[in-house]
């Protein structure tokens, strides 16, 4: 049993981290009322920037390379998300359509520039990815230590901590109260002197940063290079986690962990006796089927922010 957990849990954490980051981004955006189907594209941008920066500066930056790559990916994706904010918030574009355009644009630009700079369809493998760490002291705890703290990625723990930070921000601070108010009843927020447009821009930019973080972590722990198929559906899976987690940061983290767990099962199933007989396809589609079931109300009702997807037009009442 311990052996099985020892195989599954680090793998689940490994697959979950990018999903957690990105799903948290989705929570911020959607809580402010902006639908973000573009999470996929934001992850693509993060993966692309992370890999390119890593390849370019690996020599000069040494062991700091992946961390700085992550930071830069975060910033660039945050800036990139402004396009989504302009379209949805200022220009009243349909949020879903704009999100789809973000996905097209990120992938198109990423591959275009890859071909431009590397003269082929994918980049080289990075030489400075994130490595697994064994956390001193904690890993010495019997049983738990080996399962949770040996051979794990620090990024997984950062993701989990960040979920709690996001919860604190959204539910305990004035900023969070305002952000949620804007997503529920923007006009009420406006009459209270809150700048609805500004809040939504900030939320979308945060979602871009977190999406970029997720994409770059995926690229630098799992994929290790960038091509058109590096990010293939992780963004949509993160979106599913947002909804499965009922638009709550901790819920989204839980959902992302669970989806990561399902993914890890489909990877390591051959090594686990009970799972070896389960056809792979069931594990692959599990996250999506579960999300549909959750939406249908079979697993608790998921209630979206009230003004989700509505443009806010000042002065109409």
């Amino acid at each position: 049993m311990v052996d099985i957990l020892n195989a599954i849990i680090p793998a689940a954490l490994f697959f979950s981290a990018p999903l957690i980051f990105t799903a948290l981004g989705g929570v911020f955006s959607e809580r402010s009322g902006v639908v973000n189907i573009g999470l996929e594209g934001l992850m693509v941008m993060g993966a692309f920037v992370g890999i390119v920066f890593n390849l370019t500066f690996a020599e000069t930056l040494g062991p700091w390379t992946p961390w700085l790559s992550m930071l830069v990916a975060m910033i660039v994706s945050g800036l990139f998300a402004i396009i989504h904010a302009i379209a949805t918030v200022s220009l009243r574009a349909d949020h879903v359509v704009s999100g789809i355009a973000i996905n097209f644009l990120a992938l198109g630009l990423g591959v275009f520039l890859t071909k431009q700079w590397y003269e082929k369809g994918q980049t080289d493998m990075i030489s400075k990815p994130f490595y697994t760490k064994t956390i001193p002291l904690l890993s010495d705890i019997p049983v738990i230590g080996t399962i949770f703290f040996k051979g794990v990625y620090l990024t997984s723990y950062i993701a989990i901590i960040l979920a709690f930070v996001a919860w604190y921000i959204l539910y305990k601070t004035p900023f969070g109260l305002r952000l949620r108010a804007v997503g529920e009843h923007p006009m009420a927020a406006d009459t209270n002197g809150i700048n609805v447009y500004r809040m939504r821009y900030i939320a979308v930019i945060i979602s871009g940063m977190l999406g970029g973080l997720g994409g770059s972590v995926f690229a630098m722990t799992i994929a290790l290079n960038f091509s058109a198929t590096t990010i293939a559906g992780q963004g949509f899976m993160a979106l599913a986690a947002v909804i499965f987690g009922k638009w709550h940061p901790i819920g989204a983290m839980g959902a992302a962990l669970f989806f990561g767990f399902a993914q890890s099962l489909s990877v390591i199933s051959s090594g686990v006796p009970i799972l070896a007989d389960v056809p792979q396809v069931y594990l692959s589609i599990a996250p999506y089927v579960l999300t549909v079931l959750a939406l249908a109300g079979f697993i608790g009702r998921a209630e979206a922010p009230k003004a989700l997807g509505d443009p806010y037009i000042k002065g109409t009442r």
Binding site: V35, I37, I83, I86, A87, L91, R92, A93, D94, V96, V97, S98, I100, A101, I102, N103, F104, L105, L107, G108, L109, V111, F112, K115, Q116, T229, A232, G233, F236, M237, L239, A240, I243, P279, Q280, V281, S284, I285, Y288, V289, T291, V292, L295, A296, G297, A304
Partner: protein, 348 residues
């Protein structure tokens, strides 16, 4: 004041124009000549019989997915699931095409109809969830895209073949391919599907504008409460619209299975036919005839793009960037409205 109808025509043209300008700017930044680039694009789409044939081949499924998205849109539904419905139709068509031995006048229609049914079946579930439980169709259809993707791959590997990456070729009796059309277009992969696509355009226009079915669907799309008040069965109409939409997408899949490829391979990701269909529908203002023009544009861009690396050295992905910009600007039509208003004020 500018009339609404005129505005609806200006928006797509302006969006395409701005999209192409954006593409030109990117080419300039990376040291390409936009004129050379677009010339390569044009030649790659229409330059000779072969390219023309390939463009028409690409336009065919675009018309179908464009109709699929547009039809659902008119009922107030956003079918992002065309992607998965395409795969379902593709698989179904190939399945029928490979596993029966029938005369052509039964085999081909059967394969096409089953493809439509497969797409419809996939779209039925989100339609049902929307109609009965009010679950938002956008998320459900996205989830179904992945469910279908993995399931289709599993079926190809485990049911249709013995762990192979692709199915056998379909029987000639189920094929839309035509040596005559291929000969005419210098051996492009053009097939008879385009005829079906144009027929489908007429069908959508006729249902929407001329029948009480279309009247109900439009009514439900605009105002569910008023439709219910007027005695229409809202749930039935939502499900019907999704099913018809899914059938169009399934037909797009059959174009790939019976026309372009003649088989189906394991798919690592999506073909984007469904997502591009959203752009086609949007640019075509969700009207049947608009979809035709938009499909021609996107088909030409996609096929023409393949000629850009050889003729002008420009990576073909530039076209994806251009398409993304076009979608942004169509969706942000408010911007174009503002510009027109500013322009008119200036005139005064």
């Amino acid at each position: 004041m500018i009339s609404n109808r005129l505005f609806n025509i200006i928006v797509p043209f302006a969006s395409v124009f701005i999209g192409l300008i954006a593409g030109a700017i990117i080419m300039l930044i990376y040291g390409y000549s936009p004129i050379e680039g677009y010339k390569a694009l044009w030649n790659g789409a229409f330059g000779d019989a072969y390219f023309l044939g390939e463009t028409i081949r690409q336009v065919t499924p675009y018309i179908f997915t464009g109709l699929a998205v547009a039809f659902a849109f008119r009922a107030g539904l956003f079918n992002i699931g065309a992607e998965g419905q395409v795969f379902a139709g593709w698989l179904a068509a190939v399945w029928i095409g490979t596993s029966f031995d029938l005369p052509i006048f039964i085999h081909l229609p059967l394969a096409i109809i089953v493809a439509a049914l497969a797409g419809a079946a996939i779209a039925f579930i989100p339609g049902l969830l929307k109609a009965r439980l009010g679950v938002h169709e956008v998320i459900v259809t996205i989830m179904f895209n992945y469910i279908v993707l993995f399931s289709v791959n599993s079926i190809i590997r485990n049911v249709l073949t013995d762990s192979a990456d692709k199915t056998e070729k379909i029987a000639p009796t189920a094929s839309l391919q035509s040596e005559w059309l291929q000969g005419l277009t210098d051996y492009s992969r053009m097939h008879f599907g385009i005829v079906l696509a144009l027929l489908a355009v007429f069908v959508m226009w006729f249902i929407m504008e001329k029948t009480t079915i279309g009247y109900e669907i439009r009514s439900v799309g605009y105002n569910r409460h008023a439709s219910e008040y007027a005695g229409m069965k809202v749930s039935k109409n939502i499900i019907l619209a999704m099913v018809i939409s899914g059938a169009f997408a399934g037909l797009a899949g059959s174009m790939e299975g019976l026309g372009t490829f003649g088989n189906m391979s394991i798919q690592s990701g999506f073909t984007n036919l469904g997502f591009d269909g959203i752009a086609v529908a949007l640019l075509g203002a969700n009207r049947a005839i608009g979809v035709v023009f938009a499909a021609i544009l996107f088909g030409a861009l996609k096929v023409g793009a393949l000629n850009m690396p050889t003729d002008a050295g420009v990576p073909s992905e530039l076209v994806d960037v251009i398409i993304a910009f076009i979608i942004f600007f169509v969706a942000s039509s408010y911007l174009i409205r503002l510009i027109i208003l500013r322009f008119q004020k200036g005139e005064k």
